[in-house]
């Protein structure tokens, strides 16, 4: 995953840092289609069942554990997934916040050119970050596979949603993305409740976009967005 990410960045993406955002989005979108079709040609279009390791199969009876009766059940694998993603999140946060490398990346997000003029080879660092991002996304995919059997088209299902989450959270803000992810996820579940749906039919279909609109109107740069990122 790291290697694919690095290769992608070196081969294609880096030539686009100076292009417009629209072109950056388009070229990566084109690449996504190409990769997707290559996967289809090799693995077919049908989802591929992937089971979690047997040792963590089944579900945890959280209710009993917390003394709330046996009504709250949650699959072990999802709990592991949750723990794991919190760890990754913590790792990424620490990396960005407490290392020099992270400092350079944060600075580079705001002002590539200036960081460059301070003698730092931003491009090379962005390559590494791109590779790491690919690793994180890849890990997410691997871990998610037992929950959602993967097929060649799975990327597209997440594309728009992740885009919305990042922007609603605030471009360039890790905390914002996490907060937006939690917020939208919880609201989605909330809107899926029968009581809510009978009040507002179809609310579960649009809640995410509705919230996105409201947030962007109230907070122009998303939940935790900063001035200057992606605004040139």
């Amino acid at each position: 995953m790291l290697l694919i990410g690095l290769a992608m960045e070196r081969g294609l993406i880096r030539h686009f840092y100076k292009r417009t955002h629209a072109e950056q989005i388009l070229v990566t979108f084109g690449l996504a289609i190409v990769i997707q079709e290559i996967i289809k040609a090799n693995f077919g279009a049908n989802p591929i069942p992937t089971s979690a390791p047997d040792i963590v199969a089944g579900s945890a009876n959280i209710g009993t554990f917390l003394g709330l009766g046996d009504a709250i059940v949650y699959p072990w694998w999802r709990l592991i997934y949750l723990t794991f993603s919190l760890m990754i999140l913590g790792g990424v946060f620490a990396f960005l916040q407490f290392t020099t490398f992270g400092m350079v990346v944060r600075a580079g997000m705001h002002d590539r050119d200036m960081v460059n003029l301070l003698g730092i080879n931003v491009e090379r660092r962005f390559t590494i970050v791109f590779g790491l991002a690919a690793v994180v996304a890849g890990l997410a995919g691997v871990m998610y596979a037992p929950i959602l059997p993967p097929d060649y088209h799975i990327g597209m299902d997440f594309l728009v949603l992740s885009f919305v989450v990042v922007v609603v959270g605030g471009m360039g803000s890790l905390g914002g993305a996490v907060a937006a992810g939690f917020l939208l996820g919880i609201l989605q579940s909330f809107a899926s409740m029968n009581e809510i749906k009978s009040l507002f039919p179809g609310i579960d279909q649009i809640i995410i976009y509705l919230v996105a609109v409201v947030i962007l109107l109230v907070r122009p740069r998303g939940l935790m967005g900063r001035k200057g990122v992606m605004e040139d």
Binding site: A45, P47, P49, S59, V73, D204, Q205
Partner: protein, 451 residues
């Protein structure tokens, strides 16, 4: 191939356009070269059929399998290969020399499982490639959209995989025919089997894909399970392509229901079933009943995608390759020889549809749609894998036995994931044309199109 020709008509049209601009079309409408019907092959040595299947998107594998079946059907109709079901079909007017002595050619297109794209692709086949019949598809929305188009254009539509009641219910058309079974039939077939396996005292919770097919299936299954005494605890609509169904599954745990019915198809079904199993639903015991899951519409491809999780789960299907009858075996054999694995039910229904169409033309003695409609309406046949079958004249729905299947406990191969539990006799799934689930439509007159 004859397609990139510039014929005189086009040249005239171009020239006219140059000179007359907007007024031009008045002179060169399609009626200028009148013939008896649209895309009449006339004296040509070949006849063109259009195979419109999903090649991209979630159902691409199903579409690929349909295309394989069509290619096989064309070979068999043209007298190549081992003849497959041509040898078992009864009655059969097919001679293995094409249709009416014309060699069958075909064109293909991608429906993308989108109504617009499917119609555009079908229109290309009709307008450019001169197809006299369009067939294929892997979802009801597309089937209904293309069926409407074929009606308006004036060609025959032989539906592929479409399970919604509406296809031969409120959206039925004179030029369209469906061999595949439907949601109502699934319900009728499943009811008794479920009663036998799980008893009369059940409390069912439906998760339903929130679009027309899901709704018609939910209504059908609800009616038939309530008929055997089950209670319906709740029916919940889920957005198509929800991916994560956990927020819909967790409420099931505390609902008091002991049966989950998943009115999902394709990826939705794979995901909701996988996740329901992960949430331990099948390990639960509610009101003294072991919790069970039912997937009313099964497809082998989907079952493969859900892997282990389908074991022991009941559902219905139009056809399965393990059927022992002569017709099925002949088809499985030639498909297996050509491609190395057994065909799916989508492949089967498409193959059969192609043969039925060819046979109807042969019997009608022409490709003229209205004559072919006449030959298909009320046509009774056998030897095609589903026992004695009838294309009912009133709604163009095939009536035949329905299979109730169960996820196999010990699959012997990746294709061997379902076992046939019961072959529900045709009488049990039959219904009156004006049944409440199918009311509201009108076949209307047939359309030969204007050449």
């Amino acid at each position: 191939m004859k397609q990139p020709k510039i014929n005189r008509r086009d040249v005239l049209k171009g020239g006219a356009a140059l000179g007359l601009a907007g007024a031009a079309p008045m002179f060169f409408t399609r009626n200028a070269y009148a013939a008896s019907y649209l895309n009449d092959p006339g004296n040509a040595a070949t006849v063109t059929l259009g195979f419109n299947v999903p090649q991209t998107g979630a159902y691409a594998d199903e579409g690929a399998d349909e295309l394989r079946a069509y290619e096989l059907a064309v070979q068999h109709i043209n007298g190549e290969g081992d003849g497959g079901m041509l040898n078992t079909m009864q009655p059969s007017a097919l001679k293995g020399n094409g249709i009416l002595g014309k060699k069958v050619e075909y064109v293909t297109g991608d429906t993308q499982t989108k109504s617009d794209a499917a119609r555009a692709s079908a229109k290309r086949m009709i307008e450019k490639d001169g197809a006299v019949m369009i067939t294929g598809g892997s979802s009801s929305g597309v089937a209904i959209a293309v069926q409407g188009l074929c009606q308006e254009a004036g060609v025959i539509f032989m539906a592929g995989l479409t399970h919604s009641n509406d296809t031969t219910g409120k959206d039925k058309r004179r030029n369209g025919f469906r061999h595949f079974f439907n949601g109502y039939m699934s319900g009728q077939a499943l009811g008794p089997v479920l009663e036998k396996a799980y008893g009369k005292e059940r409390n069912a919770y439906h998760l339903t894909a929130d679009y027309t097919w899901g709704w018609t299936q939910e209504a059908s299954i609800k009616a038939s399970t309530e008929n055997i005494g089950w209670k319906t605890n709740n029916t919940v609509k889920t957005p198509v392509g929800a991916g994560d169904f956990s927020q819909y599954i967790t409420p099931v745990l505390n609902s008091g229901a002991d049966t989950l019915i998943l009115n999902h198809y394709g990826k939705d079904m794979i995901n909701s079933l996988t996740q329901a199993v992960q949430f331990g639903l099948r390990d639960k015991n509610v009101n003294g009943n072991d919790f069970v899951i039912v997937v009313p519409l099964y497809s082998r491809l989907m079952a493969q995608g859900a892997g282990e999780n389908v074991k022991g789960i009941f559902g219905s299907t139009n056809w399965h390759w393990s059927l022992p009858d002569e017709g099925s075996q002949a088809f499985v054999k030639s498909f297996g020889q050509a491609y190395g694995f057994p065909p799916s039910q989508a492949a089967h229904t498409c193959y059969v549809q192609a043969l039925l169409y060819a046979d109807a033309c042969e019997r009608a003695g022409t490709f003229m749609p209205c004559e072919v409609v006449g030959a298909l309406e009320g046509h009774k046949f056998d030897g095609m894998g589903n026992g004695p079958t009838e294309y009912r004249a009133e709604d163009h729905q095939c009536f035949k036995d329905v299979l109730v299947v169960k996820g196999k406990e010990n699959p012997s191969s990746q294709f061997d994931v379902l076992e046939v539990v019961e072959v529900t006799p045709r009488a049990q799934v039959e219904y009156a044309p004006d049944n409440e689930f199918f009311a509201g439509g009108d076949l209307g007159p047939c359309n030969n199109g204007s050449a």
